[in-house]
């Protein structure tokens, strides 16, 4: 019983760390540091998944943890880095909301998600209780990043934070999605980032920048 309790506590702690790592991305002043933040988050997410696999005895969780490491901490940052190198440096955060307000808003989003999910799950089921608000908070922070960041690659990183939130919900609230679905989702995320990378590269070729502020000619 003691071991199970401490495992649950460890899972909870790692989940909180995963959520906290979003702030590395929120506070990133350069593309490179945002991408590094995404790697940190992916590694933490893999750790959460592995610990969940250990505590539930569901072997497929290890597969999910491995895939998270390979895809989200390896391949995707590599693709984003490639795009970053090819489009050259874009100094500054390029955000519609300044850094201070971004932090305040994201903190508010976390409080909001805790209060919103509190009524949804019955208290006392341990990990689920902690997973849902953490996951929803990460989704909202990712969404916030996507809406406020101007550079195409930063928007993709925001998307990854959202997706990580979903993944956390699946890992924490259920014992992971069925493996077929899990692998399919990973494929989608990978292909998605690849295609977004291609598009960002083409946008840079046509507009000489990946600042999406310039992408607003289609109206009405």
């Amino acid at each position: 019983m003691g071991a199970a309790n401490s495992l649950a506590a460890l899972t909870g702690f790692l989940m909180t760390l995963t959520l906290a790592s979003s702030f590395i991305i929120v506070g990133a002043r350069r593309l490179g540091s945002a991408i590094r933040g995404a790697v940190v988050q992916a590694v933490l997410l893999a750790a959460v998944t592995a610990v969940r696999g250990w505590s539930t005895g569901v072997g497929e969780m290890y597969l999910a943890a491995g895939l998270t490491l390979i895809v989200k901490a390896g391949l995707i940052p590599y693709i984003l880095h490639k795009v970053e190198v090819r489009v050259g440096s874009c100094p500054g955060v390029k955000s519609y909301v300044n850094m201070k307000m971004s932090f305040v808003t994201c903190a508010g989003l976390i409080i909001l998600s805790y209060s919103a999910t509190a009524r949804l799950v019955e208290p006392g089921i341990g990990v689920v209780e902690r997973a849902l608000p953490t996951a929803v908070a990460m989704m909202l922070i990712g969404l916030f990043l996507m809406m406020t960041r101007k550079l195409a690659i930063n928007q993709v990183v925001g998307l990854l934070v959202m997706e990580n939130g979903i993944f956390l919900a699946a890992v924490g609230a259920t014992n992971g999605m069925p493996p077929v679905v899990e692998v399919g989702v990973f494929l989608d995320v990978l292909a998605g980032v690849l295609i977004m990378g291609i598009l960002a590269f083409r946008i840079n070729r046509a507009f000489d920048t990946i600042n999406t502020e310039d992408l607003r000619n289609l109206r009405g």
Partner: protein
Amino acid sequence: MPLILLGLPLATALLSVLAQNRKTLARINLAGSVGTAVFALLVSYRVFSRGPLTGLGEFIYVDALGAFIIALIGVVELAAGLYSLGYTEHELRAGEVSGSRLKWYYFWFYTFVFTMLAVVMSNNLGVMWVAIEGTTLSSALLVGYYDKHSSLEAAWKYIIICTVGIIFALFGIILLYLAAVAVSGGGSAALDWNSMIRIAGKLNPKLLKLAFIFILVGYGTKAGLAPMHTWLPDAHSQAPSPVSAMLSGVLLNCALYGILRVHLVVTKAVGSGFSAGLLLIFGLLSIAVALPFIVVQHDSKRLLAYSSIEHMGIVAAAVGLGGRLGLYGAFLHMLNHSLTKSSLFFSAGNVTQQYHSKKIGKIKGVIKTMPITGPALLLGAFAIAGVPPFGIFISEFTILSSGFAQGKYLATGLLLLLVSLVFAGMVFAMSKMTLGSPPDRIKAGEPSKLSAVMAVLPLGIILLLGIYIPAFVNNVLAQVVAVMGGGN
């Protein structure tokens, strides 16, 4: 047979990349589009004559509702594939795109067809999600095919907005899974639609309602329901015309299909009012939002895109209104819209190639310059607006009369009002383009014979459906309505 149907477009996509010259590429495309259409119709025929089909363990499940959409995909994919032959040839001659890009066009085209078929055929709701996201990814580069500023902007908005939307849907799927696991235990079968509908009555209603909201927002983004529709006019107008036809004609239906599957589970679990009510509200809102943009539109293809938002709104609202007759009308409307909109996008593509512009103000007298496309465009406009001899009139009439018969006067009256206002805007814009005298610089003629014929062909079917609905279509629709529960 279902495996061949999934394999064919995939094989065609791969072969297209390997093709050495344009002639081979055209032949591969011809074989691929005809083959896929034949197998799509065979699979649906099999389902309509002998009942639901499962395959690949329990991964594939096709009932009447799925078979109906598969048939639509087959028909529109064939039309768009054939139309592509003439269309891309003309674009190459006009120097719009380089020849080396053509094989990638066909690669993504058939990958796109594959993902849409996968959406409709997958039993597991998680796999269906993967396939729906796949449709976005495979069509994003088609939207950005022209590599111009406007098409890249459209493609970026498309992939970002739809991916965000669909991530919400994934959260909804996880909530569904959470609800299902509590009843049936884990395993991949828990997300299978056919097992979920069996245990629907025991699922946690609070979770189901929340899941439906997330899925409606997520897939609704892809289905073009307002207020998540903002990417649609950009993407549908910037894509090459054959792709626009597939986006409007079938992709929107596939996304709506995803919503309907969950709607059925939720309806069985918590009663009819909740999800049907939401569909009705989002449907009416979509029509209302599309209306002003249709009335003041300057761009011919954006006009058609907003009209797609309107028609998806009509289908969603009709499903929301429910009733046996209303559902019959809803799916008849889906069929009518697919074919009419394909024809219209083909016509608009021909006009754009001839006039070198999509601007409604710069296009005049199409009837005089283009002997086949001109009348097709005008008739298509009447058809999409819902003028009597065409099928859309019948389906709209059915939906409205069913709504009034059920005593839902307010919603149905609103629907009637909105549809008539859109009618006026649509016919006005289209007659500005088709009638009058053409500018001097425009040569008379069609981009190619094939392009002209493809604009007329779907319209013929719609005319037929307006005058007389054959017994087998009637039977097919009755079976689809039976899957939908016949009435709420």
